[in-house]
Amino acid sequence: MSASFGFNAADLIRFLPETILTVMGTLLMVLDPILHRRGSHAFGHLSIAALVAAIGGAVYAYTQAGPAFGGMLMVDGFATFFRVLVLVVGILTILPSYRFLARQDAETSEYHALLIFSIAGQCLMAAANDLIIVFIGLEISSIASYVLAGYFRDDKRSNEAALKYFLLGSFATAFFLYGVALIYGATGSVNLTAARAVISGQGPGGPAPAPVFIGVAAALMFVGLGFKVSAAPFQIWAPDVYQGAPTPVAAFLSAGPKAATFAVFLRIFMTMFEPIGSGWEPLVWFSALLSMTIGNFAALMQTNIKRMLAYSSIAHAGYVLVALTARSQVGTAAAMFYLAAYALMNIGAFAAVSHLSGRGERYQNIEDFSGLGQKQPLTAAMLSIFLLSLIGVPLTGGFFGKFYIFKAALESHLVWLTVLGLLNSAVAAYYYLRMLVMMYMHEPGEAVENAEPLSLGLRAALILPALGTLLLGIFPTWVLEFAGKSAALVK
């Protein structure tokens, strides 16, 4: 054990984003009972300021890249990429929340405090290099999101969503932890780097431990993390939770925790379990195929837009798992790129839904979008960009995301998975295009007629991710180069 406990400026700098978020989150929490001010935009402004400051902190931490706190944190390009991603997701969650919460008369600082805490946990996950830190980050993120899913506590659907999310989430955590305990027993360490050394037989304890032990641990951790990213066959909770949770929260759940959990997924499976890669590859292969197929085919049959986006998010988790199946640096980079593109387009699509849903979230059906193109051309145009990107049409981030993933899969000789994945994308095009047809080729319905004009926050929440999606689609190399450079997780 390293005995280097004490004040260390570099450690504190590398921990800067989490520190900023914790301080601001606590402040927001304490401010609520002092001010007694509900329905104030100030809390939102404060949270956005905190998130922007944390992005600055994350970038500054990257200038001092390296391990922190005795190797428990690893601040590298990979960590910084995901830290910035979840922070941006946080900002894009708060922007549509202004109007959404005001409409439901539910603007409190607690909402923002919980969001900030959840994001702090996700930042921690992004930088974690030790299973204790992974676990703590995962739980900070999850527990805050359970409460957020049930934020409308007088709404039965919100209650139910929170309860389902909570039950399956904590069940998943328990499984993950059991895997961690086995790793600790087999390798004598919970540090990813040290455990990897033992698993690959280069540890101080001599030969590698029994592969059965490690295999069971890997399977348990796969189940736990698979639940959290809603990969099939552990996806059952996602549609219910996304449908019942307040729309901006559903947007957040589909982007933030998912990206952070995939960061943990990639780091654990590409460092610690990398030496036994051929063992877990079939497992991930199967889960990737199942996620894509179940997600896309179930999405075809949905009438509720939030459920449809939930199934689509299951399918997208499948695409990212394809990149993990490739087990290569290119695959990791492709997964990183895809997650960034996916987060932007999905959160944008949800922002459009939260704009249109109306008081009490009445309008959530696909038909409610009919005629949006006539009445609100800007909303419709932005939503079209997100939908086209979700299909994977060229010039959008989604296209390059899929392109790099399937390219990485082919390089690793996963021909069948690539073919089946591409067929799946074709199926997916149908339900996204159905939305486009609804928006542009039908007469305006009740929902669109009653829609209020776009507020400033919503306008930003639609335009910013749309710009990001196009940027990723037109200049993908900027992000891809950084991802490719940081994807070398084993040092």
Binding site: F5, G6, F7, T22, T26, M29, V30, D32, P33, I34, H36, T108, E110, R153
Partner: protein
């Protein structure tokens, strides 16, 4: 030093057997020797104690759950003090500052709970919304 399971756990086994035997013996004795009386007074929960006032399966106020949850939350934070105490002399100032940060975070949680009225037993507070 005891060498095997049987040696080590023999006393436990004996105790378990004695406990079971005693209970079974007393019940049998009262069954065989006792006089059987059945009337209303005999059947109430406390034969010569307080008269029961109602059903035990009534619904409790949710405040009991709230207080229990808050208690256990703050109670469990104390376990972090145990490992901290062990290394306090070694780490000196660092440990002190760490615990200070920890305590401030806990206290801000406490402050929030207090101000939200989670501890007000009697009148429902106007500002209480969550929890």
């Amino acid at each position: 030093m005891p060498e095997s399971y049987t040696d080590l756990y023999f006393p436990v086994l004996v105790q378990a057997l004695v406990a079971m035997g005693l209970a079974a013996g007393l019940l049998t004795a009262s069954f065989l020797l006792g006089k059987r009386v059945r009337n209303r007074v005999k059947d109430i929960p406390y034969e010569s104690g307080i008269t029961p006032t109602g059903d035990a399966r009534q619904r409790f106020s949710v405040k009991f759950y709230l207080v229990a949850m808050l208690f256990i939350l703050f109670d469990i934070e104390a376990i972090f003090l145990y490992p901290w105490v062990v290394v306090y002399r070694e780490l000196k100032m660092f440990a002190f500052v760490e615990m200070l940060v920890f305590a401030i975070l806990i206290l801000s949680g406490f402050f929030y709970m207090w101000k939200k009225g989670a501890l007000d037993w009697a009148e429902p507070d106007r500002s209480r919304r969550k929890l």
